[in-house]
Amino acid sequence: MATPAGQHVTDTVGNARADARAQAGLLADAMPYVPAASTPYPPPGVDPSRLTWAETVAGGNYGHKVIARGTRVRLQDVTGEACAHVLLYNALEPWERLNVADTVKIPWQAYLSAGHPLLSGDGRVLATIASDDSGRHDALCGTSTPSANRAKYGGSAPEGPSPSGRELFTLAAAKHGLAPRDLPPSVSFFQGVRVGPDGALAWAGGAGPGKVVELLAELPLIILIANVPHPVDPRPAYTCGPLRVHAWRSAPTAPGDQFWDATPEAHRAYLNSADYCTARGL
């Protein structure tokens, strides 16, 4: 009977090295594509040579990257069952980070859609939702906790079948020197929630396969993505599909652009981000 060990000859350093190197070039359903231009799924209309990040993040897994100001990040819900929980930090001063309260309060709008600025607590726009054909997103419910996933799915560990968003964020954050106290409430894309007149939360779910959201980095960012079921997803089974991530060099929002002065609040947020970058020589 074949055993995993029986498929490898690893009795000497030389054989072990040969066995390890024999894996070169294999593909997995979820993996980073390095260099990014080698992605099997180049976004339409984007010259692959411009790509700076290409990765498929499995349901129940996470991705993270430090990206330059002006980077455009394309998130695609391949099957209609991804839920991309996102945290953003100013890569230069990471104590400046996504603030969900300011993100909904300052634009006077609880529901995220194209043009919505993702704001820090320091009066700057970290990223703009540059495009969106889903409309099913959430800035109110955060991500899943270990205790909630244990109660709902029987486990929450990153190494298990039903990781919680918080535990995946903890790992992603640690890769950038950030600790649990650096995990504020997050936003999520591709699974929606709506609020009733009495404040009750109603699940709206996803908008179907292939939906795309693009984020435009307005500052140099650390971006953390946990792809896990939304915390109010009513389905009893841990349900989360793959998330495709591609990023490429573009330009930050600037005078004359569609969103630069779409609202007075966002306009001043862009001014503040530009002011910060000018002072820092970015």
Binding site: V100, A110, Y111, G121, T145
Partner: protein, 232 residues
Amino acid sequence: MTETSDLKAVLDPANYADGTVFDLAGPLAGGAIALDEIVPARAPWSAVVKQGQVLTIVDVGGNQSGDCLLYNARDTAERYSVPDTVVGGGNLYVRAGTVLRSCLGNPLATVVANEIDRQDTIGGACGKESNSLRYGHHTTAQHGCRENFLAEAAKYGMGARDIVSNLNWFMNVPVEADGALGIVDGISGPGKRVAIRAEMDILVLVSNCPQLNNPCNDFNPTPLRTIITEPG
């Protein structure tokens, strides 16, 4: 009203906008009083509330937002979480019975009494920088809740990394059908109260909101009263 050390002046309605009425009320729970303080207008406040103790916050002058953050007093990395509270209760508003949860989903405190229709936890805190977005750069010099939180958190060795989205006692933030939301006229009044029971030892930070550009304190910042009572 800028002098905060003279309690008599702090509690004299004549030092506030015309028509200001104060009602100091009293605790919403029956046990012995462990702490009873006045938070002057625009000022920060903090205390540790031990498990089982009840903290009553009195809206002395009416429609005065008390921005509030809670931490596990033994490990402040565990702190109040808006989304965990909202998801745990299935509702965006805070009312009597709402469990105020941490980022780990654990109960930090429970709202045991509430004298207004609903309390807010999505409106966040004002601050010098966010004022520049909301109202214009001419308001950046004004003091804000974020500054109060940072100053008070610093007393416990905490900083910007520890300031997360918060509760707003006595603030009114409706969400309309299309997702439009905002701070509108208050639904509180002089002497209205809310009380929370600590479910573990918690550190409570309060910013008595200094905002001058929206109705979260009726454009007239007034004092709050904080009372901690022992169980039973």
